[in-house]
């Protein structure tokens, strides 16, 4: 199964707010650390390594394009 690129959340605004709430009161380096832990937890839950790799490529491409433009 390829990476889902269509919306897949029941309450996207609610989850987005919950992610930002998790960062509340953290310093920038703590936030980076939180994101790292979050990626590791979710990657393990997803389990299918091909999907995680596909997401990594997509995310990295987006960063590279943003830096170029």
């Amino acid at each position: 199964m390829p990476l889902k690129r269509e919306p897949n959340l029941k309450d996207p605004d609610g989850l987005y707010a919950a992610i930002l709430d998790a960062h509340a009161d953290l310093s920038e380096s703590e936030s980076v650390a939180l994101n790292a832990r979050l990626v590791l937890l979710l990657a393990n839950h997803i389990g299918e390594e091909a999907i995680v790799r596909e997401a990594l490529v997509l995310a990295r491409q987006s960063i590279d394009e943003t830096s170029r433009s």
Partner: protein, 542 residues
């Protein structure tokens, strides 16, 4: 059409002024803005006289509220104003979102056809008020008292003794019911000493209306971090008479006095739209968003509606539109109470239902504001990540939040709701509490056919009338809460109400929200649901 802003409202000395004793009046509405006027029109449509008090002497110069949502237009249709608002206004349903100098995506707010009214019509608030004032004059039941101001309130029997200041001195009257629709700076709220709790956002926004002829489509354009307003946001929206609404985020530390100078605003406008455009200013304003609400909207026989009850950021057009829905929710309940068809406690459900709607609106507008003006580096990183991915990834488009645009509130869990015997998850858009979905029916529209009383509708594709319908109709017409019966066979309507294969029976309230629905016809159940929806049978809320 003459410029409605040049019309001045004359003060007229009222008969109340010359009475020795303050005279009783059934309904006094404070505030002749959209919300107060809609309450007055709705009550007039149901035969009730009201007095509307406002200190102003002409319509507001600025456009203020401009986006009227489909549900508001449907409500205005009940007073014959949906058409004039739609034809004078600018219909739009496409929104475009830009990030830096790229267009990342566009959305369509009403992809479905066969609705009488569009998703949104943009029209300056002064036109909305103007049409309401004209309609009020036609009813002979609404007395507008201009250049008068409430300066005191005290309880008097069941009602309220109201002290009013006018250009030639004060007078008093007794109001059985007071509707406080006097805006964000509500005098009534202050008079009653009520708290108005919530959040004030740091960022300042510059809002201006310009007049220009420009061959641009009627679309909502929203920019995140555009070249002409780096690191911040901007919005462009078309209104009637070639007037355009522009909105620029300025940040927390902007110098208010400098920013508001026309030549400074003009350079922002040119940076956004091009150096060669010809335009004139209609209105310039600078503000900070607030998200606040009253703890309760009902205080005995004083009821708060619109901005007086709840104030929110404008992204999503939820301020004016939720105020219209407040009016819609309040008027039929007050009507039943005044006609002694319902106990006064029915008005507690106004507080329950519209408080829940206000919380939903406040939550949505707060989230939009947090997305538009992220606080801190990590919020910005997530926000910019969403925007960067949105160009190619549909999943990210759903997260872009430039305002979640106003839709009708659903009164889930309301004590007025009756049974829902549809299967779980079946046809969720028309569950009890939801506002009716419009659909074409035999040369008209469903919402027109529903009108503004209790209506039981049999949605049924088959030609033959369901057994027992005529008997149910006779029985329901005679109940304490009379219910009119309609049969609807049209395909689109039956589809929207989950009746393609099997008939469906719905009870609609006078505000056209679904009270209950069934798969089988049961006159006794319909009658009981109408009783519950009019507050005649108490159901303990849990």
């Amino acid at each position: 059409m003459t410029d409605v802003r040049s019309i001045s409202f004359q003060y007229r000395r009222s008969a109340d002024h010359d009475r020795r004793q303050p005279q009783p009046h059934p309904i006094v509405i404070v505030g002749a803005g959209p919300v107060g006027l809609v309450v007055a029109l709705d009550l007039a449509a149901k035969g009730h006289r009201s007095i509307v008090i406002d200190k102003k002497s002409n319509l507001a110069a600025g456009s203020r509220a401009i986006c009227w949502a489909k549900r508001s237009l449907e409500i205005m249709d009940r007073f014959g104003l949906g058409e004039v608002l739609t034809s004078k206004g600018v219909t739009w349903q496409t929104g475009k979102v830009f990030f830096a100098s790229r267009r990342v995506f566009e959305f369509d707010l009403l992809p479905e056809s066969a609705h009488r009214r569009p998703a949104f019509v943009n029209l300056q608030q002064y036109y909305f008020e103007h049409f309401c004032i004209e309609a009020a004059a036609r009813t002979d039941l609404v007395e507008l008292r201009w250049q008068e101001e409430v300066v005191g309130l005290e309880p008097s029997g069941d009602g309220t003794l109201v002290q009013i200041r006018t250009p030639d001195g004060n007078y008093r009257l007794i109001a059985d019911w007071v509707i406080a629709a006097d805006g964000a700076h509500s005098t009534i709220r202050r008079q009653l000493g009520l708290g108005f709790e919530g959040r004030v956002f740091d960022d300042q926004f510059l809002i201006c209306d310009i007049k220009m002829r420009m061959a641009r489509p009627a679309e909502r354009w929203f920019w995140f971090d555009p070249p002409f307003n780096r690191g911040r946001s901007a919005l462009l929206h078309k209104q009637a008479d070639d007037v355009w609404r522009l909105d620029f985020q300025l940040g927390a530390t902007a110098d208010r006095d400098e920013e508001i100078k026309p030549h400074n605003v003009a350079s922002r406008v040119r940076a956004m739209l091009g150096t060669d455009i010809a335009f004139g200013f209609e209105w310039i304003s600078l503000y900070r968003f607030q998200s606040r609400r009253l703890a309760r909207f009902r205080h005995g026989r004083v009821l708060f509606a619109g901005d007086a009850a709840h104030q929110m950021s404008p992204f999503g057009a939820r301020g004016g539109n939720s105020g219209i829905q407040d009016a819609d929710n309040l008027a039929w309940k007050l009507d039943l109470v005044l006609r002694r068809l319902a106990p006064e406690s029915l008005l507690d459900s106004y507080d329950v239902e519209r408080s829940a709607a206000a919380d939903e609106n406040l939550l949505n507008t707060t989230r939009s504001t947090d997305f538009i003006a992220p606080k801190g580096a990590i919020s910005r990183a997530f926000r910019d990540g969403v925007l960067a991915l949105a160009e190619t990834e549909p999943l990210a488009r759903r997260l872009v939040n430039s305002g979640r645009l106003s839709v009708a509130a659903s009164y889930d869990g309301s004590p007025l709701n009756g049974p829902d015997d549809f299967a779980a998850g079946e046809c969720p858009l028309t569950r009890p509490g939801a506002a009716a979905l419009d659909a074409p029916v035999a040369n008209a529209w469903l919402l027109q056919a529903l009108g503004d009383g209790f209506v039981g509708v049999c949605f049924c594709r088959e030609r033959a009338a369901p057994a027992g319908l005529a008997r149910a109709e006779r029985r329901l017409a005679e109940g304490a809460t009379p219910v009119k019966i309609l049969t609807v066979r049209d395909e689109i309507a039956c589809h929207r109400y989950g009746a393609e294969r099997a008939p469906a029976y719905y009870l609609f309230r006078p505000d056209q929200h679904v009270a209950a629905r069934w798969r089988a016809l049961d006159a006794a159940a319909l009658a009981a649901a109408a009783e519950r929806a009019s507050g005649r049978t108490a159901r303990r809320s849990t």
